[in-house]
C-alpha cells in the first residue's frame, strides 16, 4: 500500500486538503492577497534591518548630519531633530511595532480563548460570572486602562505588551464563546462525552481544533488594533524609551516642534508605516474571516 491508513495519516491528509481548500477561497479575495504580499515584504525588511542597514546610525552621538533637513540624496527621507536619518528610524521602528503587535495580540487572544471556551463549556455560574467580567471589560475604555497600567508599571517592552494584551481580549472571548456553543451542540461532542471523555479531552481534542481557525482570523485583526494601541501609548510617552518606534518618532516630532516647523518628511513616514501595516493585517484578517466563516461568503461584499 502506498498510503498507510493509520488514523493519524488520515487526519493529516484531511488537514492538508482543508488547508488547500482554504487557500483556494483566500486567493479569491484580492484585498487579502495584497495585504499578505505587503506583510511578507514588511516582515522581511524588518527582520533583515540589522543586516541591510547600519544600526549605529540610530545612536544620537554617532551622527554628523544637520538636524531637520528635508529629503536629499544622502538622506532620502531627511533627518530628525538630532540629525538621524528618518528612513533608518522608520525602518527600525517597524521591528518594534511588529514585535509588540504580535506579542500583545497573542496574549490577548490566549486570554480571550481561555475565557470564551471555559464560559461556553462549563455554563451555569462559571459562565455567568465569566461573561459578566467580559462585558465589564468590553465596555471599559481599553486605552484608558492601558494608560493606567503602563503608567504604574515600569516602562519597557513587557509592560506595553501586558497593557495592550490584558485590555483587548473581551471581543475574542465573546466570539470564541459563541463559536464554542455552536460546536458543543454537535453530536460528536455528545458521543465523546458518552464514551467517557472528560472536560480536558473534549476541550483539547474536539472544541479547540474546531474553534482555532476562527481564533486565527481574529488574531490577525487583533494584531492590527494592537499596533495602533502600541503607537498611541508610545506617542503618549509610555513606550520603551530605549528603542525606536513609530509612535515615539511621532512624539518627538510633536515635542520638538518639527510639526509646527512644517517638517513633513519627519511626520509622514512613521504614520504611513503604521497605516500600511495595520491595513495589511486588517485586509488579511477580513479575508481569513471569509474563509473560516462561510456565512460571510454569500451576502456582503
Amino acid at each position: 500500500m502506498s498510503a498507510p491508513a493509520t488514523p493519524r495519516a488520515i487526519a493529516w491528509s484531511r488537514r492538508g486538503a482543508t488547508l488547500a481548500e482554504s487557500w483556494r477561497v483566500y486567493r479569491r479575495d484580492r484585498g487579502g492577497l495584497v495585504g499578505l504580499a505587503l506583510l511578507v515584504v514588511i516582515v522581511a525588511l524588518a527582520v533583515l534591518a540589522p543586516v541591510l542597514t547600519d544600526g549605529s546610525g540610530l545612536n544620537v552621538t554617532r551622527v554628523d548630519a544637520a538636524p531637520l533637513q528635508p529629503p536629499s540624496a544622502s538622506h532620502w527621507l531627511g533627518t530628525d531633530e538630532s540629525g538621524r536619518s528618518v528612513l533608518l528610524l522608520t525602518w527600525w521602528g517597524a521591528r518594534m511595532s511588529l514585535v509588540i503587535g504580535l506579542a500583545a495580540a497573542a496574549l490577548s487572544v490566549v486570554i480571550g480563548t481561555v475565557v470564551g471556551v471555559l464560559a461556553a463549556h462549563f455554563g451555569g455560574w462559571t459562565s455567568t460570572l465569566l461573561m459578566r467580567f467580559t462585558d465589564f471589560f468590553l465596555v471599559l475604555p481599553a486605552l484608558v486602562l492601558a494608560i493606567a497600567l503602563s503608567t504604574v508599571l515600569t516602562r519597557g517592552l513587557g509592560t506595553i505588551v501586558l497593557a495592550i494584551g490584558v485590555t483587548s481580549w473581551p471581543q475574542t472571548a465573546r466570539l470564541v464563546r459563541a463559536q464554542t456553543l455552536t460546536v458543543e451542540t454537535r453530536p460528536y461532542i455528545e458521543r465523546a462525552k458518552a464514551l467517557g471523555g472528560g472536560h480536558r479531552h473534549v476541550i483539547g481534542k474536539h472544541v479547540l481544533p474546531a474553534v482555532l481557525p476562527l481564533v486565527f482570523a481574529t488574531t490577525t485583526l487583533t494584531v492590527a488594533s494592537a499596533i495602533i494601541a502600541e503607537s498611541t501609548l508610545s506617542f503618549l510617552g509610555l513606550g520603551d524609551p530605549s528603542r525606536v518606534s513609530w509612535g515615539a518618532m511621532l512624539k518627538s516630532a510633536m515635542d520638538t516642534g518639527a510639526v509646527t516647523a512644517g517638517a513633513w518628511w519627519y511626520l509622514l513616514p512613521p504614520g504611513l508605516g503604521i497605516a500600511i501595516v495595520v491595513l495589511s493585517f486588517t485586509l488579511c484578517g477580513r479575508a481569513l474571516e471569509t474563509v473560516f466563516n462561510p456565512r460571510l461568503r454569500g451576502v456582503g461584499a
Binding site: V139, V152, F235, V259
Partner: protein, 345 residues
C-alpha cells in the same frame, strides 16, 4: 394556534407590563452599579496597590528619614490595613473627594470639573457628526452594495480606520493649522479660545467653534468609519427580508421602502453598537486633546501620566470609565424602549 395564544396576550393588564419594565430597569441599573463599583475597585488596585508604596512615590528622589516616611504614611492613611484604606477610598469617592493632585496641589475633583465640559463639547459634537455621517453613508453603501459608492466609501473608511488618530491630527495640524508652503494656516492649532477675543457672546461662540474645527474633524474622520461599517452590515442583513418584498409589492417607492421599513429595523442593532464603541471615542479624545492642547479630560490625563500624578490619573480614570459605563446603561434602557419586540416580551 397563534391566534389563540395571542388573544390573552393583548388583554394582559397594563400593570403587569409596567411591573415587568420596572423589574428590567431595576436589573439594568443594578448591573450598572456593580460595574461602577468594579471601576472603583480597579482604580484602587491600579493606583494604590500596584505601584507599591505611594509614600515613596511621593518623595521620589528626595532624601527622607524613616520617621518622615512614617508620618507621611500616617497622614494619607497608608498605615491602615488595605481593606480599611479601600473603605475610606470608597467613602471619599461617594462624597466626590478624589484626593489632591501632586502637580497642581489642588483637589482632583475640582480640576476634573473644570475640564469636563470642554471634553463633552468636543466628543459630543464629533459623535453627533460622525453618527449622522456614518449612518447616512452606511445606508447608501448597503442599499446599492457592490456599487461604486459602496466600494469607495468602504475603502476610505477602512483606510481611515487603519490610521492612528493622533497622526491624522498632526497632519491636519500641519496642513491646515500651520500651513504648508505659501498656504497660510486656516485654523488655530491649540487651546479652546484665543486670548484677544472681543467681549460678547457671539464672538466667543464663534471663536470656540473656530478652535473646535480641527480637533472635531480629526475625531469624526476616525470614528465615523465604524458607524458606516456597522450600519452597512446591519442594513445588508435586513435587505433579504420578506417584509421589504411586501412593502415593494404594496407599490411603495424604493425611497420609502428604505426610509420607512429597512432603515428603522437596521438602526436598532446599530444604536447599541454606537454606545458600545463609546470607549473608542474616549480614547480618541485623549490623543486628539493632546495634539491640539484642547483643555479637556484627555489633556488632563496626558498631563497626569507625564508626572506621573497618580491621584489625578486615578480621578480621570474613574471619571472616564464611569461615564462610559453610565452611557452604556442609558443605551441599554433606550434599546428596550425603542424595540417593541424586546419591550413586549
Amino acid at each position: 394556534m397563534t391566534q389563540v395564544s395571542e388573544a390573552p396576550e393583548r388583554v394582559r393588564p397594563r400593570g403587569e407590563r409596567s411591573l415587568r419594565l420596572a423589574r428590567l430597569v431595576g436589573a439594568k441599573i443594578g448591573g450598572g452599579l456593580v460595574s461602577l463599583f468594579l471601576v472603583a475597585v480597579l482604580g484602587f488596585l491600579l493606583f494604590r496597590v500596584l505601584p507599591g508604596d505611594p509614600a515613596r512615590a511621593m518623595t521620589r528622589g528626595a532624601p527622607v528619614s524613616a520617621e518622615q516616611l512614617a508620618a507621611l504614611r500616617h497622614r494619607f492613611g497608608l498605615d491602615q490595613p488595605l481593606w480599611k484604606q479601600f473603605l475610606d477610598f470608597l467613602v471619599n469617592l461617594l462624597h466626590g473627594d478624589l484626593g489632591v493632585s501632586y502637580t497642581y496641589s489642588r483637589p482632583v475633583a475640582e480640576l476634573i470639573a473644570e475640564r469636563f465640559w470642554p471634553t463633552v463639547l468636543l466628543t459630543g459634537t464629533s459623535t453627533v457628526i460622525a453618527v449622522l455621517l456614518g449612518l447616512w453613508m452606511g445606508t447608501r453603501a448597503a442599499w446599492r452594495h457592490g456599487g461604486t459608492f459602496d466600494r469607495l466609501s468602504s475603502s476610505v473608511a477602512l483606510s481611515l480606520w487603519s490610521v492612528p488618530t493622533f497622526w491624522l491630527g498632526l497632519i491636519l495640524l500641519m496642513a491646515l493649522g500651520v500651513g504648508v508652503g505659501p498656504l497660510p494656516g486656516l485654523f488655530p492649532v491649540s487651546g479652546m479660545s484665543a486670548p484677544d477675543v472681543p467681549p460678547g457672546l457671539l464672538p466667543r461662540v464663534l471663536d470656540t467653534a473656530h478652535h473646535l474645527v480641527l480637533p472635531c474633524v480629526t475625531m469624526v474622520a476616525v470614528v465615523y468609519a465604524q458607524y458606516l461599517m456597522v450600519m452597512r452590515s446591519s442594513l445588508l442583513e435586513e435587505m433579504g427580508e420578506d417584509y421589504l418584498t411586501t412593502a415593494r409589492a404594496k407599490g411603495l417607492r424604493e425611497d420609502l421602502v428604505r426610509r420607512r421599513h429597512a432603515v428603522p429595523n437596521a438602526l436598532l442593532p446599530t444604536v447599541t453598537l454606537i454606545f458600545l464603541h463609546l470607549g473608542l471615542v474616549v480614547a480618541g479624545a485623549i490623543t486628539v486633546e493632546t495634539v491640539f492642547s484642547w483643555p479637556g479630560l484627555g489633556l488632563l490625563t496626558y498631563e497626569a501620566l507625564r508626572g506621573p500624578d497618580l491621584p489625578l490619573l486615578q480621578g480621570t480614570f474613574i471619571v472616564l470609565a464611569g461615564s462610559v459605563i453610565v452611557m452604556n446603561i442609558l443605551a441599554d434602557l433606550l434599546y428596550h424602549v425603542l424595540d417593541p419586540r424586546v419591550r413586549g416580551s
